[in-house]
């Protein structure tokens, strides 16, 4: 469980996160939605200690993240940022193997390599595992990064717009993978996502942010609602029930 209490954050006097309090259920997929600049990335960066909060408390399983050793946290929570501008010439396999760093400090044992192989297969990267990252397409690179996070094998997985650059098939595949991680391995996944239909179909809970505040949080079916969406995005969105799933039509 991630507990966020009265968290504030400003950049250069500008308030970006204002008094956000949330509880994120363990063993569920929670999606963060909201317009550009709502503060989604800022919020999950604070949860993963990448940026410091100004005020408030964030704890994971009852332990304050600021009181926990960074190396311990790295085995508990992993994050993939929205943009990954790694300009190093590394192969896919090397990148994925860095996911094992918190456990191995660089000296990978058989178990670590097993996890690396697993992650590579999960993301269907086997036939390009020895290619350098700069020889891949944007989507392939994104999958390599996700594979690294999977290899890190943490209880909590935070992904900031993981579907960036991915085609439909791979988008669906990644959402299904996340679903598996949650349903089969009991992981907790937090994602920031813009495609509300993906959020609607694959997540258990949704948190809607706007202007640094939580507009609505709850079960996916409660948040995917005409009035709520109107509130968040200032546009009329039709919602249709197709095969027991709520699909938003906003074109």
């Amino acid at each position: 469980m991630v507990d966020i209490k009265n968290v504030f954050k400003s950049f250069n006097q500008k308030k970006v996160i204002e008094d956000v309090s949330l509880t994120i259920e363990k063993g569920k997929i929670t999606s963060f939605i909201g317009p550009n600049g709502a503060g989604k990335s800022t919020l999950i960066s604070m949860v993963s200690r990448l940026i410091a909060k100004d005020n408030g408390d964030i704890s994971i399983d009852g332990k304050d993240i600021m009181q926990t050793k960074s190396n311990e946290l790295a085995k508990k929570i992993s994050i993939l940022k929205q943009s990954n501008s790694i300009n190093l010439k590394l192969t896919v396999r090397e990148l994925v193997s860095f996911g094992r760093f918190p456990y191995s400090q660089g000296k990978l044992n058989d178990y670590d390599w097993e996890k690396v192989d697993e992650a590579i297969d999960y993301m269907e990267l086997r036939d390009m595992q020895d290619k350098f990252l700069d020889q891949l397409s944007g989507g392939q690179r994104q999958r390599a990064h996700i594979a690294m996070v999977i290899a890190q094998d943490t209880e909590y997985i935070l992904l900031d717009e993981p579907l960036n650059n991915l085609d439909m098939r791979h988008s669906v595949q990644i959402m299904k993978t996340l679903r598996n991680l949650v349903d089969e391995l009991g992981k907790t996944v937090l994602i920031v996502i813009h495609d509300i239909n993906f959020a609607s179909c694959y997540s258990d809970n949704i948190v809607a942010l706007k202007d640094g505040k939580v507009v609505k949080q709850g079960r996916a079916c409660d948040v995917i609602d005409k009035c709520v969406l109107k509130d968040i995005y200032d546009m009329d969105i039709d919602i249709k029930d197709i095969d027991n799933k709520r699909i938003c039509v906003y074109f």
């Binding site: 960066s45 990448l50 960074s70 994050i79 010439k89 590394l90 760093f101 660089g106 700069d134």
Partner: protein, 317 residues
């Protein structure tokens, strides 16, 4: 397998280096050296070879570490003011403590090199316009400012002759008794090997490091300390060898990639080979006289550097 070839080449060149020079020592004499020849070998040739190997390896590795930590392929001891700062340090130690022994000089020089490199890294953080070429230009300017301070102090204290001797790296003065300080580099480079993984992760940025639980600041600081210490010891014993830390790591990463675990050993070997070749050329080209190493490295190195620049344009590395 590539490592094997590099090692073989290095061994052959090392032998060649021992037997090239004004006093005649041929490989055939090795088992029946005259006293004179043995002395030449032990006092001059072997120390020279060792100092070449250490300087070549350590300056190249310094460059590699700096490029990784600054995330810029054109940052190196030459293009970040490290060399110039180290030299300023030596000069200051000579002025302030006239009777400084080499070890004390090295410490002062180390402190200056560290400070200078640190200052450059701070400037890097502030610079908004992070063009790959722009940053080393800033570094060169910064180095020139530091260097002009050296010149100024040297004029005031009549040490111009001294400083120009470090301006030019030169192995011809290396003899038993005046280069042993360079051995400081060896344990430090071994530490660098142990940190290869951490340097690589640090090269992917602060957030990336944090996510993996790596103490980014600590690793970067350790890297800069290694660079400053090694540079100080090399500048003190041999003088400035420009470009080495720039071209060797760049060539290696073209074929080995940026994983330090894979590229460190290659960089060390290739660096040593490169300096050995330059040294041998310098020794035979106007035989029986010698061209200082900084000149040969400078000429060949700047040529290669230009090639790398054009290659970068073509491939966008």
């Amino acid at each position: 397998m590539k490592i094997r070839y590099l090692t073989i080449i290095l061994i052959i060149l090392s032998f060649a280096s021992i037997f090239v020079g004004v006093s005649n020592v041929s490989p055939l004499d090795i088992f029946q050296l005259t006293e004179e020849q043995a002395k030449v070998l032990m006092v001059s040739r072997v120390p020279r070879l060792l100092s070449i190997l250490i300087a070549g390896m350590s300056m190249s590795i310094c460059g590699l570490i700096m490029q990784q930590l600054s995330r810029n392929k054109f940052v190196s001891p030459t293009t970040a003011g490290t060399l110039d700062s180290a030299r300023l340090g030596i000069l200051v130690s000579m002025v302030l403590f006239t009777s400084a022994n080499p070890f004390e000089k090295m410490l002062v020089s180390f402190a200056f090199a560290l400070l200078g490199t640190f200052a450059f890294m701070k400037i890097l953080e502030k610079v908004k316009f992070k063009d790959a070429i722009f940053i080393p230009l800033i570094g060169l300017m910064f180095g020139n400012i530091v260097s002009s301070m050296s010149t100024f102090i040297a004029y005031r204290y009549d040490l111009i002759q001294n400083i120009s001797s470090w301006m030019q790296g030169d192995f011809s003065m290396i003899m038993t008794g005046n280069y042993e300080l360079m051995f400081v580099s060896i344990p430090i480079l071994i530490i660098a090997f142990f940190y290869a993984n951490k340097f690589t992760i640090a090269g992917m940025g602060e957030d990336f490091s944090k996510n993996l639980g790596l103490n980014y600041r600590q690793v970067v600081n350790l890297g800069l300390i290694i660079v400053a210490l090694v540079t100080a010891s090399v500048v003190l014993a041999v003088g400035m060898i420009p470009f080495l830390g720039l071209i060797i790591p760049n060539i290696v990463t073209i074929y080995q990639g940026d994983h330090l675990k894979k590229s460190l050993l290659h960089t060390a070997l290739l660096g040593a080979i490169f300096v050995l070749i330059c040294d041998i050329i310098g020794r035979i080209i106007i035989y029986p006289y010698e061209i200082p190493i900084s000149l040969t490295v400078g000429v060949i190195g700047s040529g290669l550097f230009i090639y790398l620049l054009f290659r970068r344009k073509k491939y966008g590395i």
